[in-house]
Amino acid sequence: MTDHLSSELLIDYLRRELPPQDDALVHVHLDTCTACRREYEVEASLTEALRAAAAREEVEFPSLVAARVWEEIRNAKPSPLAQIAALWRPLVALPVAAALVFAVFLVGPMSHSGPKIAASYYLEEHAAQQAQNPLTERGPAASHFIETSALDSDTSTELADEADYGVAATGVIDAVR
């Protein structure tokens, strides 16, 4: 590097943007070349002057700007799409909710009716069988059937009542016969 350094190289050196090897070469050259050293100092002083000028002219953030930003946001209205969505929401939600309630109304009893139907079905079948056998105990047998086969849940009592109802129904059938 016997020639003088270009201003581009000096600017890159000043900004520490050179690769390490080039940076070292420029550094060494500046130690020995007065002209390049002077040129480097001019570039450095330009940077310093720019920063000093910027610092002198620095101003505070105008509160007016922040106020205008917030005002613009406060006055914001939802986009047409969002407005349609907001309008559409109750129109969709209400029928859906109504449908859900209706579905629960329909399905709710059915969810309990499975075992009930099964139990009453067996009870009636069992009662019918027993009705043909007058030696058999009706009530206790029916209750026993419920206790053992039906359900070990809270509905056992309810089913026991139904069992009684089934027995009573069988009694009615017998009476008719």
Binding site: S7, E43, L50, A54, E60, V65, R68, I73, A76
Partner: protein, 188 residues
Amino acid sequence: MGAPRTRIEPPTPEQATFLERAMTQYGKATYNFAYRLTGNESDARDLAQDAFIRVYKAWRSFQPGTSFLSWIYRIVTNLYRDELRRRKGRFQEEIPEDNAPQEFGGQRPLAVTPIEDYVERQLSEPLSLALAQLSSEQRQVVLLADIEEYSYQEIAEIMGCSIGTVRSRLHRARALLRRLVERAQKES
């Protein structure tokens, strides 16, 4: 800056907090950057306002852990570039090409305030006056490199150009600045 505004949605609490913090912590830097870019307070206020509205709308696209200042400088730079393009049709002055630096002679890069106001306010600052003679791209790169002290890589990301373009713009801009300042010093 009078740019057409897109619709703004009402804020969520997180969004409002984000914007509040952004303006509190970076309002001054953003406004000063806008002021140095535009050269006048009115445009700087509009530019800063538009930038924070953009921050508000795009707050989710900011990646935590990255530099917020770089992000908002990029927003300001883009808005300013858009504004210059928008105004290009309304002003007879052309945006100087990067490879054709302006000669010192009173041509200004799309300044919108009367020259009298500008001279009256900043005549004591030959360097600031010289800075105003640069093209908008040259001025941006000088501001980011020499005043904000960003690296070439960071400036390239902010301005959306290559590092080589940043280097060439900075070199040309500084060479022009030196000539302008030397001439101003001789004249004074």
